[in-house]
């Protein structure tokens, strides 16, 4: 492992202690009701959550509980009904004055099915953010894009289209595209759901390596407990719909981590502790679904 990674031990409280880190998210009493006049589906119910800067926060919950809804509210893709969301003490959204956050390059989403533009080459995708924001010259942007891609082991694929490279590489390009903008927060919506377990394990280590270099806050939705414990500083287990945190678990396995963690005793203890909790909620969600339809 590289020297950079050795001296970087980001504790769960990194944000509170170190003032330099940016990207603390505060979710205060957020409620989201879809279609309030009609069907009135309550997706998020008085949810509060504090994520310190530089933390990898894993969100686990049954299908359809409202995880994506919460992520979309932070990203600024839709409004919330009540409550407030802050980024580094700045209000992102809080009705009635500001029902919806403005999407921006400080919070970048990595989508469930991937959203690299298939009509742009990999390097054009990576350069897209800065090109749109127009803060740097084209030459500077492409130099930076080339070097950041080289760092992530993507040299040689710059001029391929996303459709021409393997799905694992595509995901890596997408994360690099986000990092080009030096975001404070990365929002992942089950990015590895469609990958096979082998590619997944490679992606996990790659993600951690990128994280150790960039120390952004990571809000990561997943169904996969193994992934959640392996990557996260903390695990937030959500209730079935409407969602709010049911239990928050500190994963006290020190970073940097690699795949040997999966065979450690502590990992297995944590797994045992959480499996039951998650299963309980999944059952509730399932029987609620039975009743509805």
């Amino acid at each position: 492992m590289s020297a950079v990674m050795q001296d970087l031990k980001v504790p769960p409280q990194a944000g509170k202690a170190g003032g330099a880190l940016k990207g603390a998210i505060r979710i205060e009493d957020v409620v989201k009701i879809y279609d309030p006049e009609g069907a009135a589906v309550m997706a998020v119910d008085h949810c509060s959550l504090d994520i310190p800067a530089g933390e990898i926060c894993m969100i686990v919950g049954p299908s359809g509980c409202g995880k994506t809804t919460l992520l979309n509210a932070i990203a600024g893709f839709h409004s919330i009904t009540s409550g407030k969301i802050y980024l580094d003490n700045e209000l992102l959204c809080g009705p009635p004055e500001k029902p919806m956050a403005q999407p921006g390059a400080d919070r970048i989403v990595v989508f469930q099915n991937g959203a690299l533009f298939p009509w742009k080459s990999n390097i054009d995708n990576v350069a897209f953010g800065p090109m749109m924001q127009g803060k740097l010259s084209k030459k500077e942007i492409y130099e930076k894009a080339r070097s950041i891609m080289a760092d992530a082991g993507l040299s040689g694929t710059e001029h391929n289209f996303p459709g021409e490279v393997s799905s694992g590489l595509r995901r890596r390009v997408e994360i690099v595209r986000a990092l080009m903008n030096e975001p404070k927060v990365l929002l992942f919506d089950e990015p590895y759901r469609a990958l096979d377990s082998l590619t997944k394990s490679v992606m996990h280590e790659a993600l951690l390596e990128i994280y150790y270099k960039n120390k952004v806050t990571i809000f990561f939705i997943t169904h996969d407990l193994e992934e959640a414990i392996f990557l996260g500083h903390r695990l937030v287990i959500m209730t079935s719909r409407p969602c709010k945190p049911k239990k928050i678990i500190d994963v006290d396995i020190p970073h940097p981590r690699d795949y040997s963690v999966l065979t450690s005793t502590r990992y297995r203890q944590l797994m045992d502790e959480t499996v039951e909790l998650v299963h309980e909620e999944a059952k509730k969600a399932f029987s609620a679904g039975e009743k509805e339809g």
């Binding site: 749109m132 040689g156 393997s166 595209r177």
Partner: protein, 440 residues
Amino acid sequence: MNQNQTADLLKRSMPFQTVPGEMLEAIAKLARYESYARGDVIYHQGDFADDVFIVSSGAVQHTLGIGFQATHPEKIVRSGGVFGWAAVLDNQRTRMAKTVCMERTELIRINGEELINFFKATPETGDIVMSRFATMINKEYTMPEEVAGHVPHFTQVPVTVATGLSLTMFRLSQWLKSPKPYLMMTGFGILLATWYLAVEVWKLPRFADMPGLTTVMKEWFSKDPVYGLSIWTPEYYQHIWVSVRRILIAFFLATVLGVPLGLFLGWSKTFREYVFPVFETLRPIPILAWVPLAIIMFQGSETPVIFLTFLASFYATALNTMLGVETIDESYSRAAACLGASKWQVFREVIVPGAMPFMFTGLQISIGVAWFSLVAGEMVAGEYGLGYVINTSYTMVRYPTIVIGMITLGIVGYVSSALVRMAGDYMMQWRVRELALGGR
């Protein structure tokens, strides 16, 4: 497998295709035959690379290791395919991939050292074979050029990875060897034979008055056509040109107006609420129903025909472009917004290119219906043009000329839609390459 069969197999493979016959037989002597069952692993990554393999029958899954920077690490090698090329690379003596048989597979293997020693006697041929190896490693196994460049070379001329041309030539020769071109020719053959037999040999009742194949061909290629129209008469080209000109004008207008309209219809909900109902009421009216109004509205014979042609094209283009915008995955616009794109930038960078595949489908349909309504218009209101030729030949009992007009329409129509498809492929390289990898 005997020596001849081995030489034939070598001849079918990309690297050895251009090697002369006697040499192939000599190389075939180096080859050993082997067969594997489904699920057998031929070699693992990291194994010592001794032999090059050529598949005779069956299928082998070839997976390059992570870290070799292949843009597409997975490949299935079938009959005529070559793998195990690490055995001829200069600086590489370990396997870079894992290979597993997906079905019962027969293949031949040739020791890399022996092959290289063999070519030392014939350096020119050796260089050709090795540069074809390099091209294959780079283009078919998607390995970086640096890796592919490590094939040995035997003369002073440095080996280079060939450009797309030699690969295209190889594909073309493969195509000619495949059944496709012959199936296509058979299709045409059956059509022409049926026509010939039905009219001129069997003289089937309904076909009795139809012009026969030989009559039409004689007339079409005659320097002195009985009814005044053949490939040697200037009028023939004048008719074609008049029709093509009308199509060009109408298609151009339909594209220039239809594409933006479709884009805005798909993009803006408000705009759509105003315009779409009107659009949807006018669209089902058949083009022929517009003929009288077109003649009343526009003077002369040219504008009404162009108007009718335009109208049909315009609907197809606008509607498909709109559908194209609607099918764009929302996460693309959201991703663009995240990355700081303004509303206008999202339109330019996401909506326009994202709608392009559907848009070109629309243009493809549009050029087809343009010819359709052009002929309808020319029959009713035209002077000159292929539709006019067909119609007047009917009233003046010049039956062979009718068929000449029809065949010409078929050819010109096919060329025009091929041009639209090529324009689409040119503008959507990303899609062409994506589909090519999917084997479509």
